[in-house]
């Protein structure tokens, strides 16, 4: 399951536009995988590492 899919599972109310505006998932193609580069959602807290594990 990708990071995006994990987050959608935690917060199914998120829309694709959220991942353009207030949330930025990023992969720098350096072998380190996807990560949360920005989380500025006005109501939903950033998922914890435990939730994303």
């Amino acid at each position: 399951m990708t990071l995006f899919e994990k987050i959608i599972t935690i917060y199914p109310e998120l829309q694709s536009q959220d991942f353009l505006d207030t949330i930025r998932l990023q992969n720098d193609s350096d072998g380190k995988g996807d990560y949360i580069a920005k989380w500025e959602h006005p109501t939903l807290p950033r998922p914890t590492d435990e939730e994303l594990a």
Binding site: T2, L3, D30
Partner: protein
Amino acid sequence: MPVTLNASTSSGLIATSDTSGNIELQNNGTTRLTVNSSGVNFAAQPLIAGVAPPAFSANANTTQSISSGTFTKVVFGAERFDTNNNFASNTFTPTVAGYYQLNISVYYASNPSGQAILFLYKNGAAYTEIGRNVASGAGTLSGSVVAYANGSTDYFDVYFLSSGAGNTLSNSTDAFYVNFSGVLVRGA
């Protein structure tokens, strides 16, 4: 000392000569242009800072899978040319300050839903959107931008975002579909 040609407002043309092999054009004693073994140098608002304009061209040489909803750095695994050795690890880091025209094109094989967006990043952050497509299926996004680089720390990357799952860039055999190129068009 170089050979000088000075256009003086009081004495007219003043020429001095030596054997340096260099020449300066002066306005009232102020050097405006120098020609030496490095090339042509403009003293103010240089077109090119004493070197040939750096240029590079890179392309993808393999398929790249894109996770949905994730800004993913585009991989350019092959170089056509890189005149100043400024392109490495998918990143362009100009070592000559100035304004660069950067050209980007990406073919994606599928975008089952949502948007496909191509970004130019500068110094690790989105600098400008190159193109966007909201239609499903395969497509191409391309565009050009002129961006300033300080010649030392500024660098540029290309990122792709696909809202739909299962998208890939390029294909395994064709090197023509995913490209990143640039050239210095004006000095700092």
